[in-house]
C-alpha cells in the first residue's frame, strides 16, 4: 500500500480527528475518531438494516463501534423487532 498522509482538506469534522492512511508497517486508520489502531476502522457511521416485509430494524454498527478490517460479523436478528 502506498504510504500517504493526507492534508487538512481531508478533515471530516471538527469533532473527529484527521483522516489518515499509513502504509502496512504502521497503523491503518480511516475516518478516525480518536479510537484508531492498526487494522481498525473507527467509523462515525451508524449502519442499520431494515426488513421491508416486517419493518423490523437492527442497528448493525453504532457511531462509536470499532470495525476490524476484515473479520467483523454480526447476526442481525431481523425476525424480531429490535428493542
Amino acid at each position: 500500500m502506498t504510504s500517504k498522509t493526507l492534508n487538512d482538506s481531508t478533515r471530516l469534522a471538527s469533532d473527529h480527528a484527521c483522516v489518515e492512511i499509513r502504509n502496512g508497517d504502521g497503523a491503518l486508520c480511516f475516518l478516525a475518531s480518536g479510537r484508531t489502531g492498526p487494522n481498525l476502522l473507527s467509523a462515525p457511521v451508524a449502519i442499520t438494516l431494515t426488513d421491508v416485509a416486517t419493518g423490523n430494524t437492527f442497528p448493525l454498527v453504532g457511531p462509536a463501534d470499532i470495525l476490524r478490517k476484515d473479520d467483523t460479523s454480526h447476526n442481525a436478528c431481523l425476525d424480531q423487532p429490535y428493542a
Binding site: 493526507l6 482538506s9 483522516v19 448493525l60 467483523t72 436478528c77 424480531q80
Partner: protein, 882 residues
Amino acid sequence: MPGSAIRVKTTISLDDDLSWTLELVNTSFNRREITATFDFPGLSRNCDAFVASPTPHPHWRKWPHQYGYRCDENTFRHAVLDPDIAMAIPALTLYRKADDDAMGLTVMSSLDSPVQPFGVRLDVNLAGPRIYRPHLRIEPRASTATTLRLGWHEADWRPGLNYIVDKYPDYFEPTDPEIAPLNGGFVLSSPAPDGVIQKWKTWGARWVEVHFIHPFHGKYNHDESSWITVKDDRWHYDKHRPDAPPDGCGRDEAFAYLDTLYPHNMSHGKVRDFIDRLHKHGLKAFLYFMPTEVLGLEVFDNFPRDAVLDEQGRTIRNWHELIITNPSPDGDWGRHALGMLEDLLDRYPEADGIFFDEAYIDLLDYARDDGFSIRNGRTASRMGHAIIRFIEEALPILRCRGKKWIWNGPYNIELARYADGLLCENGEPVIQFFALRNKMLAGGGMPGGTGQQLLSGGQYGLFVMTNYMDENPDFGDEQPPDDAAMPDLHKPLFDEVRQRTWVLSADPLTVPGGVDANIFRTVDGNFAVVLFSMWSESETDFMADLPVSVAESAMDDPGQLKAVYLLSGDYPGWFRLDWTRRDGYIDVMVPRHRRTSMILLVTTGVFASLVGGMFTRPGEKPQRYMRLENWTPLRQQVQLRLADAKRDIELKPGESVTQPFASPSVGPMLVELTGDGFNRRFAQSVSALPAVELSRFGSLDGVVGQSRQLQLTVANNTGQQLSISLSSQGPELGIDGLPASVSVAANHRESIDITVQLDTPGVHELRLAAETGLGLAQSLVPATVAATDFFAGQAPTAGCIELDYFSPQGQGDPRGATGHMGKAVRRFVYLNGTQIGVIGSKDQPRWFDFYRVSIPKPILMTLGRTATLEFHAADAQDFFMI
C-alpha cells in the same frame, strides 16, 4: 433466532479510497428484502452537498432533500420530472470550505451494472447525511453484498466529480475518436429540402436524427415500395373521426382506414436521397429506431408476452398509441428488434448510424423476473437492465458495419456509458454530467426560446437542436427558432467548446452573483469560460464590468498563458482582453457583459482578434486593427479574409501581425481565418456607444417588507462633462437614494447605490432612466416580490401544482381532442380565479407538462396561506368531472 437471522460480514479494503462491503447472508428459507442504511452523524449540518441530479446543489439546511437512484419504480419518469428525486450518478459529495476545517468526501456506489438502488436523504432532523441501499434482494439460503466507496478530496464539488470520473473514465469519454468531432448542433427531421439543410449547416449542425420515415413505431424495416409514415400517431387523432373504425379495432382495420385518408408519400428512395443530400452538406445521418416503445396494436397481435406490466399487471402507455415493451433479447420482441436493426442498417448502408429513441425508460417490469429486482416483496425485472442486454447484442451489429448510435436520454450513468452520443430532448440538464470528458452531447427543450436555450446550453457544454417535421402529424411545417439571429451570434462561441472537458479542480472560477459560469478545457488544450446571465431581458441592460478570476490551478500550464480573448453572443466578434496575474489567479474584466460572454485563455493556437477597443464613443473614429497571433511552436501558413479581401500570411512561432480593420458602416464584417487544421469564421463588430449609458448590478427579488440594494453606473461616453437627469418609475416599489441628477466628467462613469423597498407582492418592473439633451438611457429591473416568506426570508422562485392523482393513471383525452401534447385539451386549472393551465391526460403521460401545472410568477408571488384551486371539466359531456 437460529436459522432465520441475516448474517452480516463487513469487509473494508483501503487503497486510494475506502471500499466498504456488507455481505448479507440469508440463513432463512424465505426470500428477504432488506434496506441497509448508513448515517453519517459526524458530518452533521455543517457541510455543503452535491448530487449529480437536476438539483445538484441542495440547500439541505433549509429543507430536506431526498434523492434516489433506482429507488423508485418511476425513477425513469422522475429523471425528467422530479428534480428532488432523480440521481444520474449514485454518489453523494459532501464538502466544507472553512479555512481551518476544510473537507471533501464522496460516497458512491460501484457503477458496475446492475447498480443496486442508492438513496440519499439530507435532513437536519437526522443526525447527519443518510445514504441507504433499499430493495436488496436475498434469495433463501443465499447472500447478496452491497458496497459503498468513500473517497476524500479537495473541499469542493468538482473534485467529487473528478473522483468518480477517475474511477470510471470510460463512462465519460468518447467511445471512439470518430464520434467526438460530431459534437455540435443536431436536427430532428424528416426528409427536408436543400435550402433548409444548408441553413442547419450554417447554424452549426453536425448530425441529423432522420425521423418520421417509418410506417409506425415498431416497424423500421420493410419491403413496401411506398407507405404512409407514423400511422400510429395519425391513428391517435383520426380514430376520433365520425367515420373511423371503433377504437380498439385491430391494427389492420385501423391502417386500412388511414389508407383512405393519406397518400403513400414515403419511399426507400426518398430516404436514401435525403441521406445523400445530408452528406453533401457535410451532415451525418442517424436513422430513427426505438426498441422500448411499440404500437400497442402491434404488440397485442404479435408480441403479447413482451409488453411491460406495472405492479397492477397493466400495460404502460407512454406516447399516443405506444406501450412500453421489454427489449430483452430473451423475448420475441427483443429478438425481432435485433433482426430489424440489422436489416435496417443493411438496407441503408449509407447511413452513419442509429438514433435510439427513449433510451431512458428504466422502470420495473412486473411481467418478468431478472433475479435481482424486488419491490415490497414482489420480484420484477429492471427495464434498464433489459436495455443493457439488448445493447450488448446490438453493439456488434453496429460495430461490424462501422456504425455509431446516439441515444435520446438516458438519465442514468449505467446506460449512458454505452451510448456513442447523448441527447436530452426536454431540457434535462442532468445529462451534462455524463459528458464530463467530451462525450458527445446535444440537446434542446430547455425553458425559454432559442436564445435562452443557447445560453443555458453553453453552460452545460450542450448543443441546441432545431426541428423540421413536415411528415409529423403532431407538428406543422418547420418550426424556426424564435430569434433567428441567435444561432448565428452564438455559433462562434459554441465552435470553441464543441469538444470540451470539464475542469474538475476545486474552485476554478470566481464570478459575481447573478452570473452563471462554467469552465472547460478545449480540445486544443486552451481553457474556455462560459458566462451567461438570464437577468437581462431588455435591450439595453448590461453589467458595466464583469470581473472574472480563473484559478491557475485549473489550467495545465498557467505559466504558458499567452493571451485572453473574449467572444460575445451580444457583440459579435473576437476581442483581445487584458489580463493580470494575482496570487494564483488570472484576473480578467469582461466589458459590458449582457447575456452571453466567453473568455478563452490560450496557451496555443492561431487567432485573429480586434484590438483597440470593442466600442467607439460618439464623435470618435479611432483606428481598429485585426491582430493575427501565432501561439503555436510551429511556423504557420494562414489565410485571413476580411469581407472580400483575402491575404495569405506566414507567421513564425510567437509572431503577431496587425492590419487595419475598417469597420463597415452597417453591420459587422465577415472574418475568416483558415490554416492547417482549423477554420474560424465569424462576424466582427465594433459597436457604437450612445452618449449616455445606465447599467445596474443587483436584483429586486424578495419578500414583501424587505429592501434590496442596486448599484447603478451612469456612463458619460462623450468628450464633455454632462449633467445627467435621473428618474425612476415603479409605483409598487419604494426608491431611496436616487439623486435627481448627477454630474459625470467626460468619458467617465459614476456609481450610485440606491435602496429599493419591496412594498407590494407581485411581478413588477422598476424603470430607471438617465437623460441629457444628447440622449436617453434606460434600465428595466424586474422585481418579483412574494407575499409569503417561505424559507427564512427567501421568496419562492418557482411553483407548480402536482397532478399525481390524475397522471399517469388518470383520465384520457376528451373525445374529439386534437393537437400536439394536448394543446387542444381544455380541462382548465384555475388558481385564485386565474386560469393557469390544463390537466394532462394518460394518453400522453410522459410529458412533464402534464404532471405539473406551473404557477405563473405573478400568481406565485401573491400566494398567501390560503388559495382556491379549481379543476374544470372540458365540457358538459366530459366524463372527467371533478
